[in-house]
Symmetry: C2
Subunit: 416 residues, 2 copies
């Protein structure tokens, strides 16, 4: 594949764009020695320079089956423009920027060189940082389909979430016309990406809410050490792994038979901001904590078993144990791919940390996935210690195939 | 130095404390193979296991001159108890916990073994994680000295901060009787530490406010790549380095001549939550951005110079350039040790990211340090793009000398 000029220069580590100012021209050393030698448009970054970059192009969007990165910045946007062409152009601009940023490059192509009168086309705080496995994943919310004459393209599977028992949803932290999930090993890279998309979208979209996640709570790489959530338990043990093509096909990717056509290769994401009452939890006995999950705290083994990856024996667990109720056997065989992050957002004004799980799950069918399981969790012993305070659902279109493709093309270009 | 039993077991990677539950005894493998072989109290962690741990004991507290770690969790506490003995006991308990956590160990000593009826004495989410250079630094706020009959022990140098031009302080994000700064390379380790201190302090203190910082904005290690703040500029270039003993002595550590005696080897910390108007900033020309700081954006060189570390020539800068006004030459030779972090706390309800700099600075004298410089910054061109929204100042006592010492001993034990 030949790359456009746009794709080859400059990496975040070279920084041609700001060379025009003052005496610094020719001394742009953000990336050290490497940067010094790379002042042209014709130099491909070496593998070592690119570091760990995740491919942006593919049949599915990255950031779903991709091994979970350490940090998250998730943003939901409202669409402000009513001009469809303008919105489509923004999606194209976003795609170009996402393509560059996930490769560890600055947003702009550095062409404005000496134009000190113009605002820089990259905000700059990720300069010198590695790609850090950044993935950017876009989703379209139910409310978007009420706009731009898209009503009849809304997928049947994209249902509005019902009210669940115990929900205490904050409207200002829920819903949205669009979402972008940024995951990276370096939070500065994830924050930089969302901020630059917001900047490019200025006047067309505005950020409705955003959530920073500091620690992954799920693994999609079964060989790695399973991360622990803020309740201290290993989380993601029986998650769908990014390598399990069969289960991904069955539970995560929208197939040709599912339709609509524009969603094939896509998925649906449910986001739930779940507050944990950690002070109460911390005063609970170890036995009760383990009963709540149906697994032991140290090893993560299911009740009656010795090892984390031993097959759970559900009947040995209390009837209201989280794992017993969330397990496929209790949900008509259904399951979801979890990709959540822990959050701590200061305090709640009552002397308590505002902390919890920003739950993210991907699925092929929302009704049979999240809704079914969450309904079954109505009697979950865990509910005493948590509260769902934010909620959103989005249709996640298929991947961007190549350098000419763009986020949302299948939705916006192939109208019936 | 001989260590107490309390100091030798178990590391976060062994996890004896939870062995009593279910069948998992003897199969506690949170740390993999290593953990399996370490089931006794007599095994010292090897250097490789401990990983990067920062020494907790010393003449000064760690977390000031210590090379800046990647992430921050800063918490301010209100004291709820009026019982001095109870408060002192809490400080001792905190010290014991801090000593263990900074060494990468669980809070408890694992002695409760099979007591499944008791709440675990460590919340567990840092199990299996490395010490991650965790430092915990305690400070005492002006309001603490109004309590426990400490009024005449309040240092003269611990002045209340005056109102500065442009301040828009949120009381719920300001002040506090106590503070703990947790810095670590892994945010989960920093969050775990604050949470466990809050848990131990339950009923005696409560969290007033807390702040997560995701990216360091200052370096105290001049050889390392200077980090960039959210305005995209390198920050910390001319900071006091942790190795500059002379400047540390002159500007950071309280000396014997300064007094009070209980503060010798201590310092003062000023915390300012500074909101950045990043949307406005992002629309500003490169030239204006560089004029604001008096440095170029790419390299970080002062106006008219080629390299980041070239000596600034202040007269070449605009009269209202940040560096020109903050430089020691404009402040009677005074300077401070900056140790701030970038933050992003969701959105402000107006479609804008709530992001900025959580400014932390350490100094020997608050009036001659922060207050002098901040007064001089009244005409700073940067003020158009920032707003100070939170503020606090704390007296940071000297270091904990050894295993028998505790946080605050010099204040609480040596009364005149
Ligand atoms: C704060 C809230 C939650 C916490 C702390 C939590 C924690 C856990 C833990 C520790 C496990 C066992 C390890 C594993 O297999 O991953 C687990 C399993 C699971 N959870 Fe949750 N969970 C939460 C909310 C939810 C929600 C809202 C759903 C979906 C509606 C869900 C669905 C699942 C599923 C499907 C499993 C795997 C069950 C199995 O196949 O064995 N969880 N969760
Ligand atoms: C959001 C607010 C701020 C930003 C973005 C910012 C950014 C910067 C930058 C980019 C530099 C130049 C590089 C360096 O030497 O570190 C600098 C220098 C400096 N800043 Fe700030 N700063 C902010 C607020 C403050 C405040 C509130 C103070 C103290 C009252 C302060 C004190 C200093 C000092 C002492 C220097 C070094 C000057 C020298 O010796 O050359 N800054 N700042």
């Amino acid at each position: 594949m030949t790359e456009t000029k746009d794709d080859t220069n400059p990496s975040r580590r070279s920084l041609i764009g700001w060379g025009g100012a003052g005496l610094a021209l020719g001394a742009v050393a953000a990336g050290g020695a490497v940067a010094m030698t790379r002042t042209g448009d014709d130099v491909e970054p070496t593998a070592a320079e690119t570091g760990a970059a995740v491919a942006f192009h593919g049949a599915n969007q990255a950031g779903i089956a991709t091994p979970v990165q350490d940090r998250l910045h998730f943003a939901a946007f409202d669409v402000d423009t009513t001009d469809r062409a303008e919105f489509v152009q923004m999606l194209k601009d976003w795609t170009a920027a996402a393509r560059r940023m996930t490769a560890g490059k600055t947003v702009g192509d550095g062409a404005y060189g000496g134009l000190a009168e113009a605002p820089p086309d990259d905000t700059g705080e990720a300069l010198g940082l590695k790609p850090s496995r950044l993935t950017l994943t876009i989703g379209f919310g139910p409310s978007l389909f009420a706009k731009f004459g898209l009503a009849d393209r809304r997928p049947d599977a994209l249902v509005d979430l019902p009210k669940f028992a115990g929900d205490a949803l904050d409207a200002s932290r829920s819903n949205g016309d669009l979402c972008v999930q940024a995951c990276a090993d370096d939070p500065q890279v994830a924050v930089h990406a969302i901020r630059n998309l917001a900047r490019i979208g200025m006047g067309k979209v505005s950020i409705r809410w955003s959530q920073l996640g500091f620690g992954k709570t799920s693994s999609t790489t079964p060989d790695a050490q399973t991360p622990r959530n803020l309740m201290g338990f290993k989380d993601g043990t029986r998650n769908i792994a990014g390598t399990e093509t069969d289960r991904l096909k069955k539970f995560v990717w929208v197939g040709e038979k599912d339709g609509p056509e524009w969603m094939v290769g896509g998925s649906y994401v449910v986001a739930r901001r779940i507050r944990m009452h950690i002070e109460t939890w911390d005063r609970t006995s170890l036995q009760e904590q383990e009963d709540v999950f149906g697994r032991d705290k140290g090893e993560g083994a299911p009740v009656g078993k010795a090892k984390e990856r031993d097959e759970p024996f559900l009947k040995a667990m209390k009837p209201d144990a989280h794992v017993r109720l969330a397990h496929p056997d209790a949900n008509h065989g259904s399951t979801i791919l979890r990709r959540g992050y822990s959050f701590t957002d200061g305090t709640d004004g009552l002397g308590r940390l505002e902390a919890g799980l920003f739950f993210l799950a991907y699925m092929r069918d929302v009704s049979n996935g999240f809704i079914r399981i969450q309904r079954n969790l109505a009697t979950d012993a865990l509910n005493e210690y948590i509260q769902h305070v934010g909620s959103a659902v989005f249709a996640v279109p298929p991947g961007v195939r190549d350098k000419d493709d763009w986020w949302g093309r299948t939705l916006f270009s192939e109208e019936a």
